[in-house]
């Protein structure tokens, strides 16, 4: 692309001398390209499987070609439609609350704190869950939300409920539980980037605003939020592409038979069909669907951002 024009005119002509001088770099580059081809590009070739009736015995090139049959099966499968809905809705909830709104509010409130020590302490504590594995987080969540867990205990003591709620057998709650799990684990971490954006806002803007008579709320509304706007938009765009990626570990670890209809995501579907049922072709087709939609979402969002004159990714 534009890289061509960046180099100096000398680069246009690759002489033997330059190649010889850069032989070490070229050798290293070749090693890394071979590695990349093996671990990143060859699996892409595996996409062929989705268009044939792949059998390990006959291999990639010997299996029967079936065209779009696997995709037709996918979209006639009610479970798959359900799975798409689950993945999309949980991804969207995840994008809205734990990734965007709450981290922004948290960063602004944290920035308003007067005590520097307190601020540091809150930050340190809020990042910690990010470093714990989902195994640990879901384990803790299971205990907290169990019938004798702390949440039920508090709700009962406050007199809000009489009998404990069994959170994990209620399909209506599952998405929100997943959303909360992300919030608990990632809110503090996701706020870092907004905090650093807030700290780079020119203090003069705040001074000017207070001379104009803006209070705390006025400054947040007219200085902080507009200054954060580019950061928010770029992060939103970046994370849009991950919407369909946002569901695997948590749903796998928190899901159970009772909430299956709302907990299964595309990745879990791939796992059940591709790995447990050994239908490699169907699993690959579902995976392709996910990748293609993700790329489409990114491209569309980027185009929309471009048209409305906003920041964009590329």
């Amino acid at each position: 692309m534009a890289n061509r024009n960046n180099g100096s005119p000398r680069d246009a002509v690759i002489t033997k001398k330059i190649l010889y001088r850069q032989r070490v770099l070229i050798a290293l580059a070749i090693v890394f390209v071979i590695y990349g081809i093996i671990f990143y590009y060859i699996p892409l070739g595996g996409w062929i499987m989705a268009f044939e009736n792949y059998k390990p015995k006959t291999g990639l090139f010997g299996s029967k070609f079936v065209g779009l049959d696997k995709f037709k099966f996918l979209f006639s499968d009610k479970t798959f439609i359900q799975v798409i809905r689950n993945t999309f809705c949980m991804g969207l909830l995840n994008l809205i609350f734990p990734t965007t709104i709450f981290p922004i509010i948290f960063a602004i409130l944290l920035n308003e704190m007067k005590s520097l020590g307190g601020k540091k302490a809150v930050q340190t504590i809020s990042y910690l869950p990010h470093f714990l594995s989902w195994i640990i987080v879901t384990g803790i969540l299971h205990d907290s939300l169990s019938n004798s867990g702390i949440v039920n205990e508090v709700l009962q003591k406050l007199g809000i409920i009489k009998d404990p709620i069994s959170f994990f057998s209620e399909p209506k709650m599952f998405w929100w539980i997943v959303c909360f799990a992300h919030l608990w684990k990632e809110m503090g971490w996701n706020a870092i980037i907004y905090l650093s954006a807030i700290s780079s806002i020119d203090p003069c803007l705040y001074e000017a605003a207070s001379i104009d008579g803006a209070g705390r709320w006025g400054k947040i509304k007219h200085v902080t939020l507009p200054s954060l706007r580019p950061t928010i938009i770029v992060l939103l765009l970046m994370n849009m592409g991950f919407i369909l990626n946002a569901g695997f570990e948590v749903q796998y670890l928190l899901g159970n038979g009772l909430v299956q209809s709302v907990s299964q995501t595309i990745d879990i579907y791939v796992l059940t069909w591709g790995v447990s049922q050994n239908d490699y072709s169907l699993g690959t087709a579902a995976g392709i669907f996910k990748s293609v939609v993700s790329v489409l979402i990114i491209v569309i969002c980027n185009a929309v951002a471009k048209r409305s004159g906003e920041e964009r990714l590329f």
Partner: protein
């Protein structure tokens, strides 16, 4: 640039306007009180489940069933820990986890740094092509099934190497390192070149010593990822019990209450009576998160650096 590198997580500028207003209005006071309460609540919600698990892990299992154990163990005991540590699969899993974290981190750091160094060479003839080759891998990948089949072909499944080899080079880590290296002054390398140093010498003696902060950040990210990873164990090494990791064993413990019963009788005949699945699970959870929580305060300053570098460039 260097300012950002040194910035501690808490170094958010206090806005000047706040200092100027010496007369604190009542609405101001109310805001700060409310804000402090919100922050304290966030900390409580974050810390309570962890501290509760800690208390349960030191509490007599049967006693804990009565409920009411919150932050302090009521009947103190080491039995839960001795039970966990007497389980062969858990101690062996911990060993594998430690080895994969160390080996995986060293390999990933060396490989990513070397690749970043090559891509950061402004005069390198294939620079833009190599860069694009790796950026593409960040956005498209083959998906679960093709990768699984590839690993089976390469004999990586049921082996230790599946943990460290495929994850060695990654587009994102490479970009963060490259961005940092490109920020270093060119004159350093030019001076070394005039002195007759080759590319490897420049990489090892000139660039790498200057990259220590970013190396630490990448190492931290990779190490945490390696330690917390469990899905690769489940997918590739489920059958190879000698290579299962601590997180995977913890997951088995959390998901299957029944499998534990067999162990309690055999491991602690004299004292095993008072163990419950919950108490043993708590002990295992604490043991699994212990390394991260203990190292956390020392490593904190590195991850903020890394996130800001990555974020700014993306």
């Amino acid at each position: 640039m260097s300012n950002q590198m040194n910035g501690a997580p808490g170094a958010i500028r206090v806005t000047m306007t706040e200092n100027k207003h010496n007369k604190t209005k009542t609405s101001d006071t109310i805001f700060h009180v409310v804000n402090a309460i919100i922050m304290i609540m966030i900390c409580v919600v974050t810390l309570y489940p962890v501290l509760n698990t800690l208390a349960l892990s030191f509490n007599d299992g049967v006693d804990a069933v009565r409920g009411g154990v919150h932050l302090i163990p009521r009947m103190f005991t080491w039995t839960n820990y001795s039970t966990v540590l007497n389980q062969k699969n858990i101690t062996h899993g911990a060993l594998i986890s430690v080895i994969r974290t160390i080996v995986g981190t060293l390999l990933a750091l060396a490989a990513n740094a070397l690749l970043a160094f090559v891509v950061a060479q402004k005069k390198f003839v294939f620079r833009s092509q190599l860069s694009l080759f790796w950026v593409i891998t960040m956005y498209v990948n083959g998906g679960m099934i093709p990768i699984l089949l590839l690993f089976q072909k390469l004999k990586l499944t049921n082996s230790f190497w599946v943990y460290v080899i495929p994850a060695m080079v990654g587009g994102f880590n490479m970009l963060v390192l490259r961005t940092y290296m490109e920020g270093l002054p060119d004159s350093l390398q030019e001076a070394a070149e005039i002195d007759g140093a080759g590319f490897m010498t420049i990489f090892l003696k000139v660039i790498s010593p200057l990259c220590k902060p970013v190396y630490a950040t990448i190492a931290l990210f990779v190490a945490v990822g390696q330690w917390n990873s469990w899905f690769d164990t489940m997918l590739y090494n489920r059958m190879a019990t000698e290579y299962t990791t601590l997180q995977y064993e913890l997951m088995k413990l959390l998901s299957s209450v029944t499998s534990l019963k067999g162990n309690t009788g055999t491991t602690a005949p004299g004292q095993g009576v008072n163990i419950t699945p919950l108490s043993v699970r708590s002990a295992a959870t604490i043991l699994t998160m212990a390394p991260i929580v203990m190292l956390y305060p020392f490593l904190q300053r590195y991850f903020v650096t890394g996130l800001t570098i990555g974020g700014v460039k993306e």
